[in-house]
Assembly symmetry: C2
Homo-oligomer: 289 residues x 2
């Protein structure tokens, strides 16, 4: 729940055991869409911050971490990512990073909630600035429906979803991943927002289990987000054969001439090293690793 | 500042831009020593928690992360760590992990604040349980003074300090590290609590700078602490020659038959991969890496 107190702090509470509060200076946008509440606030220490249903999605201060890691890990593993699909990602940061790869000819983004896109276009151009790029096809629709209906085949799919409550719930289900599997090319990769190793052990197991039934290579990688509860956060990685480290040709990073604030060659490999407690939690679903 | 509100939350505030709150159920201990305030509270989600001057030091839920990483990284790099010095570490968790290494013949712990040791002995045996081990020499004194005066030479020194406010301030200074250098054997390693890459960039630079004047190998490694602001946290690693990865013989971990909840061989190496923003911040002080 988003609570705006008299002294202007927003707070993300977690299971009534902890809360993270951020000092805010201004409300830029506060709306209620058909799917969720959408708030953009200006904070004192983190720039502007987007919250859906009271949960921090991104802040200008640290959005680069999430967007670097959801994008560059799979796009530097796939040898020639021409056609990319982003499901969710309404703020635009993932699309922005995808477009930096010159191999990419086309990026389709399917976001269910127009209010997220529109409010980020107005208030967080840092993320949304490339949504009008001619390579981008922006579709406001249900990603689950899109994955079921599309005839298009993609090299890389990025499931940039909110948490598995509200509109994102079906994005954590079996059927959705069957459809994702079917709309990936034969060397395709899918990466999905994978929740917290500390707080969502069951969800991590569930996502890994769903993917390990379908894909040949299934694993998880971590990153450190400044504004998410607990800091440590995960993406799941699944592919029809490409290995996230063995098929990662480090030299491609330097050759790309891209610069990053979080990602680098060493971080790419290190992200797949899991703390022992997390590894044990999902060990039975690791595949091809 | 430790604030105990009517609804029983404790809150660690950071620079008036953010706060992390934990739901508490009971105060086990609340004291004011000559050096700092010392509180132990029972939280709803994290077991018992120790706070010094209102800053979270450890919780029963995640203490293994910090203690694994301060201890096992240097102790698996040093080929034969017989004599270990812990400066600070009043809760006892670091000593507990040190003693699991059968090579260790003697572990000296120098903690300035008897109140921390005594309260943890009473309320957090999970950490303090090995402080009475005959291999342990517990000295209640100023670690700065001890390092200056001792004639003993150590294989590994672990500076398990609080943040550089209050009693720990001199532990972040030049003179202290000159003395540390002098009481390390010729293949010695020192690891020090290194603050947050997100919030204490200047302190990370300062610590690295001090160490790079003295030591041949100087770098930093990260871990993800559940209860520290921002999650991502660092240790600095400095040695008179041993390299944290090249001199790490992975096989020693399996051979030790030790089990861990956070540390493993892959985490050891991965911890030294720094996010790009952090690497750039301390790049000029990296040495021998």
């Amino acid at each position: 729940m988003l609570t705006m107190k008299s002294e202007l702090w927003i707070e993300e509470k977690f299971k009534d055991i902890m809360g993270v509060r951020f000092k805010t200076e201004e409300t830029c946008f506060a709306g209620q869409s058909a799917f969720q509440s959408v708030d953009i606030v200006k904070t004192r220490g983190y720039g502007k911050m987007l919250l859906n249903d009271g949960l921090v999605m991104i802040s200008e201060r640290d959005e680069f971490v999430y967007h670097d890691m959801i994008t560059h890990v799979p796009l530097f593993v796939h040898p020639f990512p021409e056609n990319v699909l982003v499901i969710g990602g309404g703020d635009g940061g993932t699309v922005r990073e995808v477009l930096r790869h010159t191999d990419v000819k086309r990026c389709t983004m399917v976001e269910i909630d127009r209010m997220v896109v529109d409010s980020c276009k107005e208030f967080i151009p840092l993320c949304s600035k490339d949504l009008e790029n001619p390579k981008v096809k922006l579709i406001i629709d249900d990603g689950v429906k899109f994955a079921k209906d599309t005839k298009e085949k993609f090299d890389v799919i990025l499931v940039d979803s909110t948490d598995p409550i509200g509109p994102a719930q079906p994005l954590f289900g079996d059927e959705f991943y069957e459809d994702i599997y079917n709309c990936l090319k034969s060397d395709g990769i899918v990466v999905s927002q994978g929740e917290s190793p500390w707080y969502q052990e069951e969800m991590q197991r569930k996502l890994m289990k769903i993917k390990s039934r379908l894909f040949d290579v299934v694993t998880i990688y971590n990153f450190s987000n400044l504004t998410y509860p607990g800091g440590l956060w995960s993406f799941t990685f699944a592919s029809k054969g490409l290995h996230p480290i063995k098929d990662f040709v480090k030299e491609r990073v330097a050759k790309s001439c891209l610069t990053f604030k979080y990602y680098n060659e060493a971080i790419h490999e290190a992200a797949f090293a899991l703390p022992q407690f997390q590894k044990e939690n999902i060990r039975e679903f690791l595949k091809g690793i």
